[in-house]
Subunit: 418 residues, 4 copies
């Protein structure tokens, strides 16, 4: 096993560990460890809410999830020799849930969760159609996930980190705050908000000194969106065997990561759409000197996905166009067309006995694929969502004999008030 450079004790809170991570982006957060190129290291990761979401049949925890506290990031790690302008090469050697325990209280200890977030607390891709909070607990058996809240499906996990990235420079951070502030200013009271400004409350800043804390907390960027440094890209294909190339903006790159997922569908559509969990990841770093300019990668990661993802040979796919549910034509809006494709898939699955929320939770968590199929055929873009048919334990294909009827069981728990 590689050396553990960021250990986590499952019985303690994230801020009470031997090494303390962070939940904001800022260039002044000091590295917790220095790593040589070419050496394999293991890093433990905490699930993004640090235990606030529990393994039960209620969604009150989702309704009240503490969004100001996320994401719990392991790091930063300084990579020896990395300098601004370089490309940081990150090999994901292995990644998995918390080992060695069975039924502990922490997501990753044999289980994980997916949530539909309330419109008043985060929202989601289809929040207009699904404004209330729901939860699904998934149990892990080997590499398979199943759920008492979403019956008749099981699928292999495609375990990956939702969030990995390098630290921004001061200039880059300022740019983020400026452009996101400009967006928020166009509709500052919107629910859910257009973007998330710096927020000192609940800021966790690793080894930032007391004297600097308040200033840094007031500047540091929230971790929700993906940005030039990678960040919360939620790319489900960054499974083990992947190689990712990040731009470097500060000396040492100061790489951080977290938000492990046991599985996720393309888009992570329920907001907390993946199967969230804590776990470990084994990484190895290299540096391509001057690679940002040499390869024209000044922002956003490029990557080569792993080759051991589950293989599916049969898919059922749904398409959507950029017309709203109430019939308004939008111009080449692929976000909308993917919403419509997902809604079509949900409508379809309800014909088999699933509640709409069960279907929505399933699309967030299962290894579905979302494609930008047509983006130029004015005025309609065409997006498609692909469901692997073998994750269902019944025949989910259309036929003359009509849909099989499942027993929806106890259903997905719903919170008391949206």
């Amino acid at each position: 096993m590689p050396e553990v450079i960021f250990p986590l004790d499952s019985s303690k809170k994230f801020e009470d560990q031997e090494k303390v991570g962070h939940n904001r982006w800022h260039p002044e957060i000091p590295p917790v460890a220095s790593v040589k190129q070419g050496v394999s290291v293991r890093i433990d990761c905490r699930e993004w809410f640090d235990g606030a979401i529990v393994n039960d049949d209620s969604a009150e925890d989702i309704l009240n999830a503490p969004l100001l506290t996320v994401h719990k990031l392991s790091g930063p790690f300084a990579i020896e020799g990395a300098q601004p302008g370089d490309l940081l090469v990150v090999d994901i050697l292995d990644v998995g849930p918390i080992p060695q325990e069975d039924s502990g209280p922490l997501a990753g200890q044999g289980w994980g969760y997916t949530g539909i977030f309330a419109k008043t607390n985060g929202g989601g891709f289809l929040t207009d159609q699904f404004p209330d909070a729901y939860k699904a607990i998934w149990d892990f058996t080997g590499q398979k996930a199943t759920s008492r809240h979403v019956p008749n499906v099981s699928f292999n996990g495609i375990i990956h980190p939702g969030l990995m990235g390098t630290a921004p420079s001061a200039e880059l951070l300022a740019k983020w705050n400026r452009r996101e502030g400009d967006l928020i200013a166009t509709d500052p009271d919107r629910v859910p908000p257009l973007a998330l400004p710096p927020e000192p409350q609940y800021a966790l800043l690793g080894g930032v000194s007391d004297s600097d804390f308040d200033r840094v907390a007031a500047e540091a960027a929230r971790t929700a969106p993906p940005r030039e440094n990678g960040g919360n890209q939620d790319i489900k294909n960054l499974t083990k065997g992947s190689r990712v190339f990040y731009p470097v903006f500060v000396d040492g790159a100061n790489f951080s990561l977290g938000d492990l997922h046991f599985s996720q569908g393309d888009g992570e559509i329920t907001f907390c759409g993946a199967i969230e969990m804590g776990g470990f990841i084994d990484l190895r770093f290299e540096v391509i000197k001057g690679g940002m300019d040499t390869y024209g990668v000044s922002e956003n990661a490029i990557f080569m996905p792993g080759t051991t993802d589950p293989q599916f040979s049969e898919w059922l796919a749904f398409s959507g166009t950029s017309v709203t549910l109430d019939g308004k034509q939008h111009y080449l809006d692929s976000h909308l067309s993917y919403q419509r494709a997902c809604l079509h898939a949900i409508d379809y699955l309800t014909k088999f006995g699933y509640s709409p929320e069960q279907a929505y939770l399933l699309l967030g968590a299962a290894p579905i694929e979302g494609r930008l199929s047509g983006v130029v055929d004015i005025p309609n873009s065409c997006s498609t969502v692909y469901l692997p048919t073998s994750i269902f334990d019944f025949d989910v294909r259309p036929s003359a004999s009509g849909p099989f009827q499942i027993d929806p069981g106890i259903g997905a728990p719903r919170a008391s008030a949206g």
Copy 2:
């Protein structure tokens, strides 16, 4: 070979054939043939510009492409027993280029083309960055495509029809015209336009009688966008072996199709991004009675893709977020984030010696995959574009040794004026 129910003579124009197709959607276009369920039939298809684009080293034909004349559709075909409310099941048994000839003047006769359309004549996904007209000719060798205009790449075709669909009802047609007219009215002089209104000029309406022609031509919908009936979905995965389910809106379904592609990348990003060609397609139809309601499929096709597409095990992927090139933050705009991902891929490829236009043409034509990776992480969506590395005859991966330099050859022809 199945019976040819819509033959085309490659030496004659599309409107001079034994059976004449159409280039607009209207419920009153009468079927050219009636087809029994369960019977295999062959249908010839003409390339979408009916020979206006030629195999040469100039892009003047792309600049002046007659957009009012498209698409050349074979059909409509009435399927016996199909009625409104049914689902029409379409099996793509086989599809390929025009057989039996070598180097004829018609796309599909051993070659095809991809165009970047000028901003003044159609535009494209990246028209702000690429306002001028360019062309690439692709030669077919067996199942492989190569181009003198885009060197050092070759790939297997994933042949598919860009456009298939059922006829709209009068009500559905009226709905299309209303909502698209509303959109156009918001900026009627935009270049390129927001949408395409009915256009009698160059309308081809199959067997519509002279007395009805002018009225029908004034109502009939243009074929550019995908809509409730399927239509120009440009889904590259509808290759042979696919099964597609279409809603039926009129008696007989009145199914039409055309716009065959030898290959296409997800999105068909250069507007005429696929490798356009004429050819043949073998289909078989069935009907699921009442299937629209039974399965909740009231609009847009659902489908099961074929299982014999080329297999790639290694990809190089690029990500983008919803920030414009000049730094403005947009809110969860997946169309924009896919544009940025594609621009990142183009920037990268130019480091190997390709011109930006060669890279753009390649992304339109090769079997790239476009994914909606993250759609909820406010304010940035994250889209990704995947390039199979094995289509390049050099090592396209980043490495410490820097990019290999290709010889870009004669380059992609550019039209005289944008």
Copy 3:
């Protein structure tokens, strides 16, 4: 379409064509055409019995199949620049059944056949268990094969030539005749025979002159076995997109080919186990000068299979060891262990309602995979045979509910006397 350098008229016998092929290997058979390197060419191929097997519900034709007349080979083709010691690179650009006709009398015209050969006329892999002649007709619909004689299965063809090879030198031919003669001499009256000696009767020798004919016919090798020159390898993975490297033994390489299959299982176990048909193949040749020595390929083809074969994600596999049916232990005999694995698969399929012969025919024709799983665990080798479950239209997996029962239909026709 590439130039047709070996055309066949489906209405005429193989020996009455414009260009006449051959059915024996001999260095003195002169080339029918000369081909430049790098140029695509099309070659028509006749099914191996030249029309003796017909599309009906009788197996008398299989019982009496004229084994002395096979294989009908197109060629030889001289490749410009090829010399002994070179490697001949053959790219299979495309391959398919006879185009342009529907229900003609020749296999390849929309149908093909599989035969269990009688022990008295050829035999087969399991001839002790299946001594009598049976036949199955397969119908082609697009890329799919189905059979009225083997119901409830359908599968995509993996079309390939069963036989391709270069001409032997005189020395190599002499070596073949010597070693095969030695084997025959150990049991000259065996039924079926151990090997097939040169046989002047029915020898077809292309352009060999009358004065040389008798001598050449007495020396020329039969085409049944694969040998140093490639030959009848029956490798089902030589589908389109494959690249094959053959040793060159004579000037020009004198490449010949034939015995097209619409599909075949690994091993072609019923002797005529593939789905036999006539068709066309598009090839392109190159030469690696001195490649035999440079790469150590002095005999037997090496190859890179194509990448567009059907994709299966679920298989049901059977294993066997080198113990005979009556309990005798053999020493590490992988041929026997594969026989036992196939017999286990046949036993299993009969539990679903298939006759043993239907199951045997299916294993010969469908894209099953045969693996040498363990070859060192004395005294038992372990071979395995993999069946893709999705070729069955019922659930073929073992379960507590027991096997589904098919209607075996009219069954596979059996010849009157074994």
Copy 4:
């Protein structure tokens, strides 16, 4: 984590553990644990030589490997409700190397080994060509294996148990001893031997009582070969996600397993061809009552392989026929034709700078595929071996430019005397 029903302490010998396994097959070896159907359990497994092979640069340990002591099997486990005539369904939920340690002395602790066994001590598939003992150590980095003894290759492990099986009944055991004894009697002094008779020396029989020990040890079957009960099948595809169906011969089935491999090529051709290691496996059991008769599975396992094996899209394949190296023609001998295919692959790889032994070790350990391509074309069978090209860090394909030359490094260690 599932309950560990068979724990192993890496610091102790296999026979000194809390629960003691066995290394022979006998119906009277009592179960070490009873397992309920449907419950996930974890079982630790020791590498087959229990630490006799060490991580160094010498092959003396391979030369002197204690073959009488193998295999170290975990079990037997009694499955509640299983009775003779049933099928035991075994789901492999997960399998991996020894967790939680880095560089310990036991194979599985971050490394594994492959050996070419000396002809005088075990032999191997190509023992006539490779009579001496060699060793390669493989290091595990995440899911990848690399070796200082076989440079320029790396590949994902396809971790699997080489040996799983149910206990034989007394009748079945007697049958084994009879038929294998009959074989040995045909050449009792052969080196290597034809088969392995019961051998009391070093017999480890779990909980067999002292009073029964000598009798049982004299009867118990060696574990080398696969047999009716499954056993040492060495099927590399029994990776996680696999479901295996075993015939049940005794009450409780008495299932045992061991011999974990980090990777293996089809055939495990070097005898100890896999990458041997200790580790863990998570299993779940079910029973199909009366399944042996219902499904016709009276012997040898049937199975459904997992779906997360590494995906390769490009292979280089070698073929062989049943002619010996010195030119003697054998009759349809697939064992011989696979030997010849493997020798061709070895010859080829030496042209790139590998020693023959390095190439042989590589073929044993890497995920190569061995196919029975043609088994009926008298007198030659045709076997093929497929190498995934992407496991090499250079271009291993034939080309006009000739083979790349690797640095073979320190080479594979060779033992002092054969």
